[in-house]
Symmetry: C2
Subunit: 271 residues, 2 copies
C-alpha cells in the first residue's frame, strides 16, 4: 500500500518517531534503519521493511525502486511525507533520507544454531551502541554466526547501533540473555568459551582455539567479572605495550576474533 502523510499529528508519524525510543521499540517489537545503503543491505540479505518512508519528490534511484517494489510485494507500506515530517522522524534534515521499519528479530538463545558457524561473539554489559555495531561488523568480517549480549547491554536495535553495524545487523544472529541463562545453554552442547583477560592467561597467539568458539568480551571500563572469566575454557591475553587499558572492548574482540579465525583455519589446527 502507498500512502501520503502531510500532518505532524498523524498516528503513523507518532509511531515512527516513537521507535527512536527503547521502551517503544520493545512494545512495538520493531526498529528503524535509515539510509538507502543500509536498507539495500537489508534487502540483499532477505530483510524487507514493513514500512518504507521518504519525502515526496525525493530523487529517484534504482535501488529505491527495487526496495519499494519488494515492500509492496510483501504487503508492506510505502509512505510519502513532507521533508519537515521526515526530518522529525529521522532526526536529520536530509530530504533524501529514507527510513524503514523492520520487525525486531527473535533474540532468544533458542534460535541460535551453534553448529552453523565456527565463531560466535559474546559481549557482556557492552554499553556503547557504537561498539555494539562495531562488534556486529567484526562478526560479519570473520564469518561469525552472531552476537550474544549478556546482562545489560546497549540495545542492538537502537538507531545508533543499527547504523554502526553498517548492515551487519541483518547478517548476524543476535541473542540476549542473562549470564545465568547463557552458561547452562552453552554447556548443554559443544562450544569453547574464550575470554580476553588481563588476569592469568595464555598468550592469545596460537592458543588452542576450537570451533564453535565463543569469544567473550567484557564491559568497556570494568572488563569481565572474575567469576565469568573463571567459567571460561580458555583465558588468553594480548600484548599491551602501552597503558594497561589501551584497547577498547570492541577492538580487542576484533583482534582476538581474527586470531581465532586463523587458528581454526590452519592445517593441523585444533578444529
Amino acid at each position: 500500500m502507498r500512502r501520503k502523510i502531510t500532518g505532524f499529528s498523524n498516528p503513523t508519524v507518532k509511531y515512527l518517531r516513537s521507535l527512536r525510543d527503547k521502551k517503544h521499540r520493545r512494545q512495538e517489537r520493531a526498529f528503524l534503519a535509515e539510509g538507502l545503503r543500509l536498507l539495500t543491505d537489508a534487502r540483499q540479505t532477505g530483510h524487507v521493511p514493513q514500512m518504507l518512508v521518504m519525502a515526496s519528490g525525493r530523487d529517484p534511484h534504482p535501488l529505491l525502486d527495487a526496495l519499494e517494489h519488494d515492500v509492496m510485494a510483501a504487503g508492506g507500506e510505502v509512505i510519502e511525507t513532507t521533508s519537515d515530517i521526515l526530518a522529525k522522524i529521522t532526526g536529520k534534515s536530509n530530504p533524501q533520507a529514507v527510513a524503514g521499519v523492520f520487525a525486531e528479530f527473535d533474540t532468544t538463545l533458542g534460535q541460535i544454531d551453534r553448529t552453523a558457524a565456527p565463531i560466535w561473539l559474546v559481549a557482556q554489559e557492552l554499553r556503547d551502541p557504537g561498539n555494539l555495531g562495531t562488534m556486529l561488523r567484526t562478526g560479519d568480517a570473520v564469518g561469525a554466526g552472531g552476537l550474544i549480549l549478556i546482562d545489560d547491554c546497549a540495545d542492538p536495535f537502537s538507531v545508533e547501533a543499527v547504523r554502526a553495524s553498517m548492515g551487519a545487523i541483518f547478517t548476524q544472529r543476535i541473542a540476549r540473555a542473562r549470564w545465568e541463562e547463557f552458561l547452562p545453554w552453552l554447556r548443554s552442547g559443544t562450544g569453547q568459551l574464550v575470554a580476553a583477560s588481563l588476569r592469568e592467561a595464555v598468550p592469545y597467539r596460537g592458543a588452542p582455539y576450537a570451533a564453535p568458539c565463543f569469544i567473550l568480551v567484557g564491559n568497556e571500563s570494568q572488563g569481565l567479572p572474575e567469576g565469568y572469566e573463571a567459567a571460561c575454557d580458555l583465558r588468553v591475553t594480548m600484548p599491551m605495550r602501552g597503558r594497561a587499558d589501551s584497547l577498547n572492548a570492541a577492538l580487542a574482540g576484533a583482534v582476538l576474533a581474527y586470531e581465532v579465525l586463523a587458528g581454526l583455519d590452519e592445517p593441523g589446527g585444533p578444529t
Copy 2:
C-alpha cells in the same frame, strides 16, 4: 597563578571556548583535554597543561591536587569559575568537570625518529575523530611510535579525537603531511610501507613484516588511492567472510598492527 573568573564575557572564557573550533586551535596552537583521568594520563607522561579550569567548590581529589601543583610549579594558571561558565567551556553540564589547555605538539615529520619504535601507524584521509582516537589507542597498545596523518584527516587535537584516544594522544607522536612530502621522507631512510588492501596482495598472516614497519590505512569509505597502494613495499589482505567492507579502517588497522607486532616478535622472524 590562580584566578577566579565569574563573567561570561571574560577574554579567558572566550579563549577557552574558541579552542573547540579547529580554526582557533590552529591560530592559538593549543588544544583542550577534558576529564581528570585524561589530564592525569597527560601528567603521567610529562604533559602539564598551561591552564587548568574547574568550577569553584568542586569536590577535592588527590589527583586534582597533584595536577594543580604541577601546573603552578610550571608557571601555568589554575582557573576557578562558576559551573555555568564551565558548562559553556566544556559543552557539558557537569560541575565536576576539569579541563586543561595544552600547547599543540610539533606535527612535522622532522620530529619523528623512526628508529625509536618498530611500528608506526599511517592514516590517509581518516575523517572520523573517533577512528583517529582509536588508532592512537591501538598504536599505544602495540608499542607504536606514533601516528602519521596523510592528506586531509580529522584534527587529532579536536576534543572528540583527544577524548577517544583515552590518553594515547600524549604517548604517541603525531605528524601531519601530504603524501608528496611523506613518501620522500619515508624513502630517505629505512622503513617498510605496508598497506591493508583489497586488491592484489599476500595474506596478512605471516607476511614478511620488517621494522620499522609503517602500516598504512586508508579512508573509511574509499580506502587507499591505487597509486598509494602501488608505492607500498608490501600489500596484505585480511579474510573478509562477510560483506566486502565489513571492517572499518581503524579496526583493520588494529588487526594488522597486532599481526605485525607478532611477526616482528617471533624468533627467526623478519626483524
